[in-house]
């Protein structure tokens, strides 16, 4: 329904403006905040790219792990409760796999240049699941 530019095109052009024109014209704290703002736009761009498929996969994993249905928020709360009360832990089948996959999916959006994330991608083969590209470092800061 909405005309061009698409939301992704808009985000990309705003980020290019911040990086190409605003940041070089500022100094100190303002330049730093402009960089943070550009990085934040990068997060939104990557989330638009990955959120739908990753949230579906995470919900599937959670449903299987907890053996119940619900929204992502409900199941995440339930998982927290079970870990806190000791009903599920590091030895429980599927828990570590779910947490690794979820954390890698979040970092692929939040901070794909974070060194521990790059290393975890190598250390946990297969954990990043489908749909997440490790080759999209964006403009994230560490």
């Amino acid at each position: 329904m909405y005309d061009r530019p698409t939301r992704r095109e808009l985000l990309a052009t705003i980020r290019a403006f911040l990086e190409g024109e605003v940041m070089p014209a500022l100094e100190g704290r303002r330049a730093f905040h402009a960089r943070v703002a550009a990085n934040a736009l990068g997060i939104v761009e990557r989330e638009l790219e990955h959120a739908e498929s990753q949230e579906r996969l995470a919900l599937e994993r959670l449903g299987e792990l907890l053996d119940r249905r619900g929204s992502f928020e409900e199941l995440e709360l339930e998982l927290c409760r079970r870990i806190r009360e000791g009903e599920i832990g590091l030895d429980s089948p599927g828990l570590v796999e779910h947490l690794r996959a979820t954390t890698l999916a979040k970092l692929a959006v939040d901070q794909p240049r974070y060194a521990s994330y790059r290393r975890a991608l190598e250390e946990w083969p297969g954990a990043s699941g489908r749909g997440v590209s490790a080759e999209d470092p964006g403009e994230a800061s560490e």
Partner: protein, 329 residues
């Protein structure tokens, strides 16, 4: 923020009373302002030449921060640590209400670089980096022996209190993080026995150390100091976010654990139990994660509307991957 003209006048009056040969001050400029204190730099003109100084304090109405020491306690502690041989700024003057500009203290402005990325990457620190882990060990051994029993206002914070505090903060933020829950379980199950309390710096890490070509020459940012388990400082120094990308060098991104531990023991520190340090490293990674979520909480509450404050919430996932690599390698 304090009014610069009023600050300059009040500061001048205070320095006349406590700085020998003081003639005047110039170039008063704001360095930073946290929630709990402001920091200003200036030069004092003295009979023997200019003296680079720093003013830190609750000036112009800034409130005491939640976890931070009261500023007068911080001033007394920095002075005590410096007199006990820790490379910390020399405290020249403590300001009280009678000076009319709030409470604070004036200290020596020590030379050196604090920006972690420069310390880890610039050529001029190439010779310093391999020495720094051992230097940190020796400094910490001395710091942990500073006699702080008589320092009023220094809180006692052992592992149990700190886990409970972070649990409370995390619960109040009401944002579920299953990885953080796992870390809390680990900390509660693996909490080491309490030890005889020592002075703990509380934020001894790359970023709060002054570094010159010769290595570590100063320790800054004392506001989170407390009495507790000295291994907390060793663990915090090794927490992954303070490696600034150099994740294979566990100590601040510049050095090896073995060098830190060996130098710590050789300089008279207690015998290092690696498992105890690991406990504090997990604690530190979790604490950093809770801080990230809390930064978003501060933004959400409207107390700070900066984009930086909001965006740091998205760094909680960094703490999650670090915790998973520690707990389920």
């Amino acid at each position: 923020m304090a009014d610069p003209a009023a600050l300059e006048a009040g500061l001048g009056r205070a320095l006349e009373a406590c700085l020998a040969g003081f003639r005047g001050l110039r170039d008063l400029r704001r360095l930073s302002g946290g929630a709990s204190a402001e920091t200003w730099a200036f030069e004092a003109e003295c009979d023997e030449g200019p003296l680079p100084l720093v003013l830190r304090g609750r000036l112009g109405g800034t409130e005491a921060g939640g976890a931070s020491l009261p500023i007068e306690v911080e001033a007394a502690l920095v002075a005590l640590a410096q007199q006990s041989g820790v490379p910390a700024p020399r405290v020249h003057c403590v300001l009280d209400a009678s000076h009319g500009i709030g409470v604070g203290y004036v200290m020596q402005r020590m030379p050196g670089e604090t920006l972690a990325r420069r310390i880890l990457r610039e050529e001029r620190f190439a010779a310093a980096r391999p020495r720094m882990a051992a230097q940190c060990g020796a400094i910490l051994a001395r710091l942990h022996r500073v006699p702080c029993e008589d320092l009023a206002g220094l809180p006692s914070l052992g592992a149990a209190e700190q886990i409970a505090h972070n649990r409370r903060v995390y619960d109040e933020l009401a944002q579920p993080h299953p990885v953080f829950e796992l870390a809390f379980r680990f900390l509660e199950e693996c909490r080491p026995d309490a030890v005889e309390a020592a002075l703990v710096h509380g934020d001894f890490r790359n970023g709060n150390l002054l570094v010159e070509e010769s290595g570590v020459t100063g320790v800054l940012d004392w506001e989170l100091a407390h009495r507790g388990d000295p291994m907390e400082d060793l663990g915090w120094l090794c927490v992954p976010p303070w490696r600034f990308g150099e994740i294979d060098r566990a100590v601040g991104g510049f050095g090896e654990r073995e060098d830190l531990y060996r130098a710590y023991e050789a300089a008279g520190g207690r015998s290092v139990e690696p498992e105890r340090v690991r406990f504090w490293e997990v604690f530190g990674a979790l604490k950093w994660g809770v801080i990230c979520v809390g930064m978003y909480g501060i933004w959400k509450s409207g107390l700070d509307d900066s984009v930086e404050r909001a965006a740091i919430g998205r760094r909680a996932s960094e703490a999650e991957v670090d915790l998973l690599r520690l707990l389920a390698p």
